[in-house]
Symmetry: C2
């Protein structure tokens, strides 16, 4: 069978994620891994899930837990999320919430919803590589979004028209972003709102790490800022162009694949149709388990995560100060899981990884895959979420030695 002749053109843009391939390395016991933005499994609320699953399969509930369910998602979970979002400054109801199989699925669906071949998506340089991977299936063109470069809407629009489409949305990872660990300041969020207004474009706000703030002051979600603007003239979330994507993967557990979208109800309605056609609904049982665990211990559990991850971030930043040679710089995240390293311009992150795995047995993610234009060769991403303090000390010591020897 000549498969090439039956493939869709979009398949030319699908390629393996370096991060996913690296996950396979984590099983090798002598590797110190700063790769993969994955939670420390020692922190999973196992007993709470055990109780929630047992309750979901109790007489009177099991019939529903194991059965088909509505594409919108499990109503008590949507109710909890509507209240949760309201607490974040985003007053909304259940009609503004769709449950997805992780926020990765939300990114795929939003690409499918809006991107026609040749349309433009605005992204940061660098941005979450999984978002680029999801969007690529719909064959967009990327343009660089930098809220401080003072390019006006007309310039973006002209460039998009030249590429054969229009600017459909801006995608931003907003808090302790994957991969940089940086948070978009409030003033820049407001600028993005202004720009999107001028463009008539949507905003996709990826808030996967939002709950994991260790210090500093919380910045309101873009959707909260937009609702505040609309509220001045009697408007609400129904008038907003921002689509918020959330996830339980970094707070409760990624293995259950439960995330959500919060947006104006016409957007949710279209995404529900899409989900009906694409996978009917997310696992009923898992939605029930997440709803139970979230209602019982979300705040206290996340407070515990923050404490552990904060100590690891502090430890990694101290180790970097101690071990990194001159010419290397890095971010100082206020939360999340990542520190972003900029190496001297002559160095290449992918080549460094190859040497590191061979000689120092330290894993991390080369930065180039996070840049839509393939630049950023001299950057790497380190995650501090899964390494204990001794591993951080030893791993950063080895990495510093390797970089200094280059």
């Amino acid at each position: 069978m000549q498969w090439e002749q039956v493939l869709a053109p979009r398949m030319g843009r699908m390629k393996a994620s370096e991060i996913r391939e690296l996950l396979k390395l984590l099983d090798q016991p002598d590797i110190i891994s700063f790769a993969g933005g994955i939670p420390d499994p020692a922190l999973f609320p196992v007993a709470a899930f055990q109780g929630a699953l047992t309750a979901a399969l109790a007489p009177g509930k099991a019939d529903a837990a194991l059965q088909y369910s509505v594409s919108e998602g499990y109503l008590p979970l949507r109710q909890w999320l509507a209240a949760h979002m309201t607490g974040l400054g985003i007053p909304c109801g259940v009609d503004n919430i769709l449950i997805t199989s992780g926020s990765q699925q939300a990114l795929d669906y939003l690409g499918k919803l809006m991107i026609g071949t040749g349309d433009t998506v605005l992204v940061n340089w660098p941005t979450y590589m999984g978002a680029l991977g999801a969007f690529n299936a719909y064959e967009p063109v990327y343009d660089r979004l930098d809220p401080r470069d003072n390019r006006g809407a007309a310039e973006y629009t002209a460039k998009a028209a030249e590429a054969g489409g229009r600017v459909k949305f801006a995608y931003l990872s907003v808090d302790f972003a994957n991969p940089t660990g940086e948070t978009i300041p409030r003033a820049d969020r407001e600028r993005v709102l202004d720009l999107a207004d001028d463009l008539g474009a949507a905003i996709v706000e990826d808030a996967a790490y939002q709950a994991l703030r260790f210090d500093g002051e919380a910045v309101p979600p873009i959707l909260a800022l937009e609702i505040a603007r609309k509220a001045k003239t009697g408007g609400s979330i129904e008038d907003c162009r921002t689509i918020y994507c959330g996830s339980f993967s970094k707070t409760l557990a990624p293995g259950l694949r439960v995330g959500w979208v919060c947006a104006a109800s016409p957007v949710i309605g279209r995404l529900v149709l899409m989900k009906q056609a694409a996978d009917l609904h997310s696992s009923t049982l898992n939605q029930m388990a997440i709803a139970d665990v979230a209602a019982n211990l979300f705040e206290s559990h996340v407070a515990g995560l923050r404490e552990v991850y904060k100590a690891r971030r502090d430890h990694m930043l101290a180790a970097l100060s101690r071990e990194m040679p001159k010419g290397v710089s890095w971010t100082r995240p206020e939360g999340g899981m990542f520190v972003w390293i900029t190496l001297p311009e002559t160095m290449d992150g992918a080549a460094l990884l190859a040497r590191s795995l061979e000689t120092e047995r330290v894993a991390f993610v080369p930065g180039r895959a996070f840049f839509a234009d393939g630049s950023g060769g001299n950057t790497i991403r380190l995650s501090f979420s899964r390494a204990d303090e001794a591993a951080i000390d030893e791993g950063i010591r080895r990495l510093g030695r390797l970089i200094a020897a280059d």
Copy 2:
């Protein structure tokens, strides 16, 4: 926000599934429902799932059950499935298996893999409406596949070229098909293989109901027939154009959303990349639970399902013979969940449903949505999977009365 201006062209083809909307009606206690192809929840193996989930969250396993996992799927489940498929006449290994979130997701991914805008997909008239819904997102043209109409490959190819693309694949629901309950005979499966060979096209074999045969002789899967052809010249599944889609939704439980694709490894490899980009992986916990339950009781559990559903089918066929007026005909399925009714040509299934819900309180699915060309107005689909014998007697009695009065 003017959402229309940021929507992709494909969104013009997304519409609500009548079946999914009807599911909402099933909660009304006085409705006798023959709608929805959904299992009887009284038959779910609840205790087995309870045990499997408890085992998956035991110390030493919980870390993996709640964590991210590989996009290919949980290895022990893929191993069980490779053995299961081999038992169906499809010798294969784990590299030929991808776990999906139900076989609905497999249909979405296969559309995404192969359909470029304007390409042709061959389908039966009628066919599974959920397949049409999944494929529609990729903007295909449909052409009618009837293995007995003697249209040659040249005719299909010319028509596809006229529509602006080529024939990418034929989609067939093979056993006790949704919606007709009919099984494609072996000779027709061989004809479809010949046609696909001539077209250079793939075959998507939807075997969601395959395990639910009550009587008659099993027909080999198209993929098994193709492997048998290739084996004569030393070939294997790696040389086959048929892509088999399976599901645990009709045998163990739909609420966990676990299905699979079995195909040549280059197809599986591309689908793994797609799944990475679209939702990372299916629920780790649910895959572990299904693997455990399948290994322990798949055969015995399915034997029990067959017995119950066979009795309901027999009861429904007897009731139809007793209650239906002249001019109404129906299929006699050898398994599955559905009987397909053809009404007199002047009658309309959707209008009948509206009257039925109002006066007789009997639900079913009008047939038109199963036809890619919108024909089939005088057909309806009845499911016998969820109704007990008294409800079948009463429901068919009322339906016969309604049709006779028309």
